[in-house]
Amino acid sequence: MIHYIPNYLSNMWLRRFIIFSIISFAYGQSIHNAYGLGLISFNHNAADAAMSSRGIIPTLNQHISLSNPVTWNNLKFAYLTGNYTGNEFTSDDGENGLTGISSAQFAVPIGEKYAWGFGVKPLFNQQYLIEDDQAEFYVQDDTLITKRSVDGSGGISIFYTALRFPVSAMENIAIELDILFGSLRKDSKLSIDQSVYHFFQRHLYSGSLYKIHFSSARLNSGKYPLNIYATFGGVLNSLKLKHHSFQPFEDVNLNGYYDGEDNPSPAIIPSIEIDIYDNIFKPTELGIGFDWTLNSGLHMMLEMHNWQDTGKKNQTLYPLLSHYVNQSQQVSLSFAKFSPEIAFKLSQKMQYRGGIYLRTDKMEEKGFQVNEMGISLGFGIKFGVANNQIDFAYRHGIRSGDFIQNENIQLFTVGLQLGDLWFVKRRPK
């Protein structure tokens, strides 16, 4: 019986973790999340976040990035990785936040030149409740008080897999395939005096992307050896949206559900309207990163990244589309003090990271943009024989633009990497 206790405890911990993860998604997020597909996510792990990186430069260890598969051959072990992120957005409009798992990944080096991995991470997330002011509607010598609100949650996630291989003695490539999936549930409400109408919609997303990651060690020599990284991404199958449009109804009994007391009666309504929209999301991205080794373990990195979406977003699907971010550019400068591969003392096992960044988001509505600048800090600790690692990151930014003034962004990420030996011939006992 006693053997079951650890299992029971771990199940209990897992259950609490899952419940916490789910509950924590119930908070709203910045108004950015309400627009179009939502807020795109570029930082998926603590090491990237601590260096303000979008995943091109090596941030986990020397020459290793969890987000860049072209570096996975430098892993000494197979790693199972999980990251948890919390955001907080504060402005005059109030405070919003969102927390949740930001990535889960398995990556394994195959020999010294090859690597393979797969994982799941969010691409867009949406969690919002937006309310408009009351409006007066004049009809037949009567004045109706109307009020609109929209409540949505969901997003698009990526299941990805990547394979890394060399193309020359100095150059390497990784090919990544991203399978997009996800959904958005949205409730648009219109109240007319005491009556409340609900309009439920559901978006189901599917599509696929590709990324090609490139690295070169051709300049990896001299006093300040330089490694160069580049990433290019495009569309394999542009995002397809299956739009479920449910019958709007008056919630007569105000219970938030569509039942027999509501109007019109569910018994008389036609079947759900389903429409399919293609080419909703057609992103291309291009990024380049430079990693200078200043001295043993100390690195300076520069990263530039441009992401652009040329998908056709139907105005009827996305009424708040005008402020949707369809282009995002970022440049970041960061420093890292990585621990040596073999470290015995605690001080040697510590890794320190920091960075600054400038970001510009351009809106669907021409000429509108939001500028953001910020700093990031973080540290990590190695532990265990398999170089397991726990990383923490904090980022603080301020953004302002045509419709956002001095919004403070705080991001906290914690990541855990657990290593094990895979594809290694064991010695016979």
Binding site: L190, P319, L320
Partner: protein
């Protein structure tokens, strides 16, 4: 969070629609389910006879039927057909005549729902055979309340073919010739406790012999009574001549059998979004002023078949069937009637029902003599209107 959602996904809109045409038609009045029965003449409405159909099974016991009284062991002491009169005082009692239909072998004398002055004529009335006369009388219900009734001696019915199971159990009540004063009685629909329901009452003795094979020996005698309530009753009403208003306007009247068909052809081209939810749908008719109308209630129901009616017409029966689940009721108030036809419009927009028009007809609780007349589409300002307020993506 706050944002401008004026280009929201759910919009409120209103429309006021015109071009609502109406045509009146007449059918024989259908008053079988009225809570009162009338006999005599009132403001041109002639109630020429009352028809009753008795239950075959007694109220007290399933084992006692009308044919039970044909048994030789039953001796009827007295029998009455009793009908309660709706009146406050009794100054000059009126005598009525009771008839039955011994020559009609089938139980098809009349139907409460379908018989009327056109299909139950003087020919059918003349086929009845006289049973007895009955005169109004008072009786004390308790120490305070006095009620009035007419009791017709009816022993003859149980010596006749009336009690035979193969024949009808219908009775006819009329006024003697020359009397056209209006008399009002309680119908079976008045009170479902049956206290005032018209009924046959039979008082009898039942002979039982200890040895059924020998009727010459001692006999046991029970004194009993049984009653048989009517299962159908109907005033046979002949309406007065129609007026010019009745045919010129959109008219509704119960006693005259006036009904109207309304068409709203514009609905077919309205092109509202498929997912429209109607918040309001008010169909308004303005009445031609009439100070006699205190209250009047009208049903509006969507037609289920195409109706081709271009002008006033008289029919022997109403063949215009309606969608039973989409009734709407409106009452005359401030010289207009407003129908909430949201359910119909919602179903029409969902293509659950076709836009074949609406039938307007009087509620059964209206005064039979009251008619209402509405202005039709050709009036310069008081034409019918349909106001819709709806929410749509």
């Amino acid at each position: 969070m706050h944002a401008d959602l004026s280009d929201g996904e759910l919009d409120l809109a209103v429309k006021e629609l015109y071009g609502i045409d109406g045509v009146t038609y007449q059918i024989p009045p259908s008053i079988g389910n009225k809570t009162r029965l009338h006999l005599g003449t009132d403001e041109g409405f002639n109630y020429k006879a009352l028809l009753f159909k008795s239950s075959f099974i007694s109220n007290e016991s399933f084992y006692w039927t009308l044919s039970s009284f044909l048994d030789s062991t039953v001796h009827i002491d007295s029998a009455f057909f009793t009908i309660n009169v709706h009146r406050d005082t009794l100054e000059t009692p009126t005598t009525f005549e009771l008839y039955y239909f011994p020559d009609n072998a089938l139980d098809s004398i009349f139907s409460e729902a379908e018989s009327n002055y056109l299909n139950f004529t003087d020919t059918e009335i003349a086929a009845a055979s006289f049973v007895s006369n009955g005169t109004e009388e008072s009786y004390a219900v308790d120490t305070i309340t006095t009620q009035y009734r007419v009791r017709f001696p009816a022993e003859e019915l149980f010596d006749s073919t009336f009690a035979d199971t193969s024949l009808n159990y219908s009775l006819l009540l009329t006024l003697p010739d020359g009397d056209d004063e209006l008399h009002t009685f309680y119908s079976r629909e008045y009170d479902y406790t049956n206290v005032l329901t018209p009924k046959l009452e039979i008082y009898f003795r039942l002979f039982t012999y200890p040895d059924s094979a020998d009727t010459s020996q001692d006999v046991n005698i029970d004194t009993l009574s049984r009653s048989f309530y009517v299962s159908q009753d109907l005033s046979l009403l002949v309406p007065p001549e129609l007026t010019e208003q009745d045919t010129a306007f959109v008219s509704i009247g119960r006693g005259k059998g006036l009904r109207s068909v309304i068409s709203m052809d514009f609905l077919d081209t309205l092109q509202l979004p498929n997912q429209t939810s109607f918040d309001k749908a008010e169909l308004t008719f303005h009445i031609v002023p009439d100070t006699n109308i205190a209250s009047f209630s009208i049903w509006a129901a969507p037609l289920t078949d195409t109706v081709s009616l271009s002008s006033f017409k008289t029919f022997e029966e109403d063949d215009f069937s309606v969608e039973g689940s989409m009734y709407s009721s409106g009452s005359v108030l401030n010289n207009k009637v407003v129908f909430n036809i949201r359910n119909f419009l919602q179903n029409q927009n969902f293509e659950n029902v076709d836009n074949l028009g609406l039938k307007l007809y009087a509620n059964i609780n209206n005064n039979l003599q009251t008619d209402v007349h509405f202005y039709s589409a050709d009036h310069d300002s008081l034409y019918p209107k349909l106001f819709i307020q709806y929410v749509a993506p």
